[in-house]
Symmetry: C2
Subunit: 328 residues, 2 copies
């Protein structure tokens, strides 16, 4: 479909706020052409991931533009990390309910610029359209990986240890804070959780260091238990996890009131969940050290299917109800 | 943000309707992993384009699923064609107001399958989310091009002939038919225009044959005059176009009532607009012949800026009002 429409134009919007974000990548052509060109001169394969984000579904409607930018980019970079890829570029398509105003665009594009510098990536293309619905965006992110070095969800072996990076549940509790559902935290504690929600740390360096050491990996977006389920299913295995070994901060415990269903099923941790043979444990820990991130063994992979969750008393508890986010 | 939701799941939806569309591309991993891997073994660069499409903006709300699929894919392939790239893959993200039902998903995915076979492409990734707004989708399409062979918008030279493939205005008139705004056409004529609206022909073979022959190229999405304006601006030149030389079918003339503003500004022709030196005219026509598409010379490039439109009497008419679609 096509039609006429007046007002400040799409081209001006791209030229003012987005084209400056593309200058560090030659093949983006300053966002002035029909497509971008990714050179393959270094013979590394190109890894592609894409996410659609909708206001009111993926972020609260009143989320500041800078936080939307940070989280949207980082969640995509986390997918690249989970494949052991090194990010280098992304495209951004925006569907806007109306011209969002210069302040919004300033905040959004400045935050993208900061993220780009932090992760050494450039904007290489996109689209800007109008919508009668909520603000929506689609990011497609690109990384590079040496052929055969990518980490997959499949590939776990019986006896593999299950590792998780960082700690779990802070993002889910941060969302609760934003919704006004948490009491009893200090302002500083609440802010830490909110920042963990908006600014997850894609574990790029860690994942790049795991090539040849880990058998399988996934980033935790849907929730630890559900995402471990993906590794299990695609590897044709089961897993046994001890809840007490899962790294959870005191602040998260306090915010959750000890409700493990919310902590383990909340999702959006964007931590790396991976499996590696027990013999590699020390070298894995050294790789984590080098990447400045903690990793914790929380259980191991088994031949028998399904995930067994073991509580502090050594009893098996049901994983039902710890499912993760579902759109439909 | 993240939350719980019941009902038929995103994973089942992907597994049933979309994973089968990925089987021909190994690096898609059956849509079961965090990202796809594009191998670069043939040393051709990878060309990337992306589009966001919103129901009610880019297609009428009652458009059949199969037509949405065809048009969304083809408009992206047309962008790849405009860079002289050979398409091979795409990602598809869907934001759905509710579970669209099996019939809709059947029609949509079957049509994607037909298009994939026609254009030798595979689905390699995507996302499926819920939205409170209209159905929206984001397609990112991938092609390959020999390093240095890509066609750009810039690069036109003074004296270049301006060529256009196929004919102009059928898509815009097809949209008018769909809106019930056209009278006096036979049912067959109306259907031809509607099909031209829904199933544009990305000029892949033609563009691939123009490497080394054409100086610049763009696909006509916003409208012939506006898109020619992009070539002019990025090449630092102007153009002189004779309206009577622009290929327009009798059916389009009849549907438009002779209103050139609507024909030339309607957009979504997805024809290739390109410039080439006059000395290359015969080889360009031979390349077009080989690609089974007509090309027509409609004017030439000039040093002086701006686009001069010449009417049948040899008088210059204003290009104002022939602008093209604007979202904001």
């Amino acid at each position: 479909m096509s039609d006429k429409d007046d007002g400040a134009g799409e081209f001006e919007l791209i030229e003012t706020w987005f084209a400056p974000l593309s200058t560090s990548y030659d093949g983006a052509f300053g966002l002035t052409d029909d497509a971008a060109v990714l050179d393959v001169a270094d013979a590394r394969n190109i890894v592609v991931t894409t996410d659609m984000l909708v206001s009111g579904v993926h972020f609260l409607d009143d989320t500041p533009a800078a936080y939307i930018a940070a989280k949207a980019l980082r969640s995509n970079l986390s997918d690249l990390a989970a494949m052991a890829a090194e990010p280098f570029a992304y495209t951004l398509s925006l569907a806007l309910p109306q011209h969002p105003g210069d302040d919004w665009l300033d905040g959004f594009s400045q935050a993208l610029g900061v993220e780009q510098q932090m992760f050494s990536i450039a904007l290489i293309g996109g689209d800007t359209v109008s919508t009668s619905g909520p603000l929506s965006m689609c990011i497609t992110a690109f990384g590079r990986v040496e052929p055969g070095r990518e980490l997959r969800r499949s590939g776990a072996k019986p006896g593999d240890l299950v590792f998780v990076s960082g700690d779990i549940g802070a993002s889910a509790m941060g969302l609760r804070v934003l919704r006004g559902e948490v009491e009893g935290l200090s302002e500083a504690e609440a802010e830490i959780l909110v920042q963990r929600h908006y600014r997850p740390q894609p574990r790029i360096d860690l994942a790049r260091g795991l090539g040849g050491l880990a058998h399988s990996a996934i980033d935790i977006s849907d929730g630890l238990v559900q995402d471990l389920g993906h590794i299990c299913r695609h590897s044709g295995l089961g897993a046994r996890i001890e809840i007490k070994r899962i790294p959870i901060t005191d602040t998260v415990m306090k915010a959750s009131g000890g409700n493990m269903v919310d902590v383990l099923g909340g999702g959006e941790d964007y931590e790396l969940l991976f499996t590696a043979p027990a013999a590699n444990r020390i070298v894995v820990e050294e790789a984590a050290n080098k990447a400045n991130v903690d990793v914790t063994v929380i259980g191991e992979m088994h031949e028998s299917e399904g995930i067994k969750l073991i509580d502090a008393d050594g009893d098996e508890i049901s994983a039902d109800g710890i499912s993760g986010f579902r759109h439909f």
